[in-house]
Amino acid sequence: MSIDMSNSDEDKRLLRESVSRLVADKIEPFAKVIDETGEMPEELYEVLTKTGLNAATVPSQYGGGGASALDGVILVEEIARGSASVSSILAMNLAGVAALAASLNEKLKEDLFPKVVRGEVILSWSANAPEAEGELIAADDAKGLVLNGKVTWVPFVDVGAAIVVLAEAKTQLGFHLVAIDTSKLKGHLEIGPLESDLGLRGVQLRSLVLRDVVITGEEIVDSKVGGASVLGVLHAVGRAAVAAQANGIAAAALGHAKRYVGERYQFGVPIAEFQSTRAILGAMALNLEAARQLTYAAGNQLDTGATGWGSQDRAPADSAAKWFASKVAVEVAIDAIQLFGGYGFVKDYPVERLMRDAKLTQMILGTNQILDIADAILSR
């Protein structure tokens, strides 16, 4: 089975429904075991590759699905409804592919895009907040750039799948965005212990310490002195992708809660009959809807380059979506557990995992978007 990646606006619904069935059949059944073991089963990579989901937004001339960012965001959300951990593969690739597509390095695209399509690599990048610790220092060398330093919170390190890490490397003059193929770095690479096991287990966030890693020009995605265009794309699409993961988690929590309150009887009626249940459920759906619309707007803006109609005081949708959706996802998961009562707190039911997964979407890429939005507005 392969998912049809129509790039037109008209049939998001069909796209979503076909993915939704796939998720129910092939992805959700693994969510619990991924959370328990912290490992991602091999066959999941195969499912994603066979259906083309992992390369949905790779331009079609490289064999990818050629899907829009908006479609990519919808796909990430749908996969996250089944397993937020699995959706991280798509989220990583979504942003990584967008960054590569914006790069002028055609050779790198020709090398990496087909590998993404064949499922041979995941395009990974640091899920840490941009301003946080951990950086690579680059020095020029006859052979290329020589990198030393540490990248923290890198997803999918040491999970079996090969990764290419898109990392920012600082030089005295500016910075480079480089593509680091970790499989080629024997002896130059030290992998840190697991950095968090609260949620998104299976993603295996770890730090990488690089020692005298030589990067040739062919592995440089973008170089800027004072500017940051491709890195900006990586982060903007990254924010939209994480927002979509959060929405998927919240949608799962809402769906489980809706089902449970219809089935759980107390005082002789399903607890859905109580108005207090409805007030909680309605608020969950309402806030999720706002988060979704923000996220779709972010996807749409990434596709069209539009930045909101008219007014000068609009918040950038990707920053707004990341902050709002991840916050809402945590709250929706907390409320879903509340509706489950004691059962929500135990691992026989999925909602406690959703609360932990949701919290990770909030921590990823940091929580400073409100100040970023203020900066954006005040600088206009």
């Binding site: 096991d197 609360m355 932990r356």
Partner: protein
């Protein structure tokens, strides 16, 4: 007067309240390990016994300690280890029920608790959560014995307790007079722990299904009169809900203190009026005020109870439980955002607080149940006369 209330009693410093904080510091080192291993460490039990904590919390001289004293102990413990605090809270709840029952066994049972006997509270069932009267566990009389059959769910201290306070139907109708409380020893024939829950938080505190299969207890095992079980359980709520408020205040305070440690490591100076840390500083101020408010609400309820010698009204007990547990969840949740990624690292105390806090909104009556209780008494509230 809080100073007065807390550390002084009739003008004298109450040494056990300082002792509570000192003891809590001793157990702090166990909490992450117990959480990871999903097991209550016997060393902590040893410390509780060795430092005579049970005597301190239950009251030393045959007199129950005040609600304020109990809450202070629980708060201190919860700031370091939620599971230990809940262990102590659960014993104080049982202790209060036993006292309330006026049982002839009360004095002996409480003396044993002061020596460290641990109880489990067996009320909830799979289909009887908020709706207690759906209970199906039965106790039928045969000669000088009751024979108990049924299954209890979400029982704290399952497998760790040596006694269970089991609520069972002594009458079939859906009536508040149909249920009776029994003390059942954990080694009674027919009593078993069918399964343990694996929980998101409060992981060191064992929770399990206690199954009773033709368990025989002598008729003297009733706690309170026949048919008084629900009355006892409901009466206990006005004491036990503030105790959960105290766990909540402790978790909120603990999260705030852990957050301050993280901030102290990364931000040297939050005092500057204008700085790149002002937004974070204001967030800290907001969280501080939440902890402060929860704490003053709780101790206002407990100290008026202690001064008057009357149990708090239900709306007050429920407010203490609901408000403080909302604050605990909120502070723990926001503390992670403020602290950043250090807070979600493996074994980081803040991520444990985040996972632990959620149960506070649920047990001892979900916060929806608390709001029902408050709603029913809205007409009685008169702040002007408080």
């Amino acid at each position: 007067m809080e100073k007065d209330r807390d550390l002084h009693q009739n003008g004298n410093l109450v040494p056990e309240l300082i002792e509570a904080e000192r003891f809590a510091a001793l157990i702090a080192g166990y909490s992450e390990k117990m959480d990871r291993e999903e097991k209550f460490d016997p060393e902590v039990i040893g410390l509780l016994n060795r430092h005579k904590v049970w005597k301190a919390v239950h009251g030393k001289d045959g007199v129950e300690s005040t609600l304020t004293q109990q809450c202070r102990w629980i708060e201190a413990l919860a700031a370091r280890c939620t599971s230990t605090a809940v262990l102590v809270q659960s014993q104080l709840t049982v202790g209060h029920t036993i006292l309330l029952s006026g049982s002839p066994l009360a004095s002996r049972l409480l003396d044993e608790m002061r020596e460290g006997t641990i109880w489990g509270w067996g009320l909830t069932e799979a289909e009887a959560g908020s709706d207690i009267l759906s209970m199906t566990t039965t106790a039928r009389r045969e000669g000088n014995e009751f024979i108990i059959n049924g299954s209890k769910r979400f029982i704290s201290n399952a497998g760790m307790a040596t006694r269970y306070l089991v609520f069972a139907r002594t009458s079939p109708e859906r009536s508040s007079k149909a249920i009776t409380a029994f003390v059942v020893p954990s080694d009674a024939a027919g009593l078993s722990i069918a399964r343990y829950e694996h929980k998101m938080g409060l992981r060191a505190s064992p929770t399990g299904d206690v199954v009773l299969d033709e368990v025989r207890v002598p008729i003297e095992s009733t706690i309170g009169d026949l048919g008084e079980g629900i009355g006892l359980a409901l009466g206990t709520l006005r004491w036990s809900r503030p105790l959960i408020g105290a766990v909540s205040v402790g978790v909120a305070r603990g999260a705030f203190e852990q957050l301050m440690k993280v901030v102290a490591r990364s931000d040297r100076d939050l005092r500057a009026f204008t700085s790149s840390h002002q937004a974070k500083g204001h967030k800290l101020a907001e969280l501080l005020m939440q902890v402060f408010a929860a704490r003053t609400l709780l101790y206002d309820v407990t100290s008026r109870c202690d001064a008057s010698g009357e149990l708090p009204s239900m709306w007050e007990a429920s407010s203490a439980k609901a408000f403080c547990s909302e604050v605990a969840m909120n502070v723990a949740n926001e503390a992670l955002e403020v602290a950043g990624k250090e807070s979600v690292e493996v074994d980081a105390p803040l991520q444990r607080c985040f996972r632990d806090a959620k149960i506070l909104q649920i047990f001892e009556g979900t916060n929806q149940i608390q709001k029902n209780a408050i709603m029913k008494e809205l007409g009685q509230v008169n702040f002007a006369l408080m």
